[in-house]
Symmetry: C2
């Protein structure tokens, strides 16, 4: 793990952006009969959600079946959305994979496309990972992406991912990366946790 923190260093270009606010819809992914994802239909669906007053579009989340898509399929869908005219400032794509290299690749693509932020699952294959292990995984991704524009929303969904965020872990990543960590999605289904 690198010890430098490029994403937290003062940037020549201002990195302040309006925080995304309002209703963020989990966006379904339309599939064709051959199980390939349908980009044009996804773009139409996104346009409709925005027309209904959604401020943000959580594409490639659990509802979107994103983990049933390859990294290439997700990259290509994101490119399609932006080319099709969906404002990237409304997009909050899910980018958290089991492999750090995949999470970095998808997160970089999202930052470069100008997305409002990314919704990031912890690596979810191995269970019972320590907070220290999860902290290092998030630190590694943030360092490798190394972009002051990065805004990470931690994605807590233990009923599906099994691996979640403790208060201790949230505190640690927030203290280490106060600018990059922008928020959290709590899908624990537990109001006392929320």
């Amino acid at each position: 793990m690198s010890t430098s923190r490029p994403s937290e260093q003062p940037s020549a270009t201002p990195s302040k952006r309006a925080r995304i606010r309002g209703v963020m819809a989990p966006v379904l992914t339309p599939f064709r009969a051959d199980l390939s994802p349908d980009g044009p239909r996804l773009a139409r669906h996104c346009r409709w959600l925005l027309s209904q007053g959604c401020a943000g579009l959580a594409v490639f989340g659990t509802t979107s079946e994103a983990n049933s898509l390859s990294v290439e399929e997700r990259e290509s869908l994101l490119e399609h959305l932006v080319e099709d005219g969906i404002d990237p400032a409304t997009l909050l794509p899910g980018t958290g994979c089991c492999a750090i290299s995949d999470t970095v690749r998808l997160t970089r693509a999202a930052v470069r496309a100008g997305c409002a932020g990314v919704l990031m699952l912890p690596p979810f294959y191995y269970k019972g990972v320590s907070d220290q292990g999860l902290f290092r995984a998030f630190a590694e991704v943030i360092e490798r992406v190394g972009d002051a524009r990065l805004r990470v929303y931690l994605y807590h969904i233990p009923p599906v991912a099994q691996v979640g965020f403790s208060g201790n872990l949230i505190g640690r990543v927030l203290a280490a990366y106060p600018r990059a960590i922008a928020g959290m999605k709590d899908s624990s289904g537990d109001w006392s946790n929320t």
Copy 2:
């Protein structure tokens, strides 16, 4: 899902192979300090395991941290092993991913490289999937790979993957693909299940 079964059709070339027998070692993956996997060291470790009497090498399993590697990293490691002189007839790489497209890609690569078989996890992000859903996922992979040389070992490891194989599911895939389904690894840790 295609209804044809190319992998089950009589082939012009004989598809009978000696079933792999003996001790199959779960093979550790060596990583460099930058977290990239170290192909040459993996090949040396494989050679050592074979010299100690292992008949088969279960590379890219849970012990191998394979799900912390991208598809490209796993493809590249497999290529390296074969180029480095490891007999592919000793290899049983793990190829089961969350995305069917990734599982197909890795499985094709293993079959083309001449591997003894593949160890296949079910798609493991979504939990509580029905046997029918899991059956269709396996059927889709087998159909798409469409190669009479394919030998699938079902990988049952509910303590980690959470998604496992019921007796009903095993019976269904075996009945539908008696030649492609070659065996099973039971890592349930439950002798009564075994």
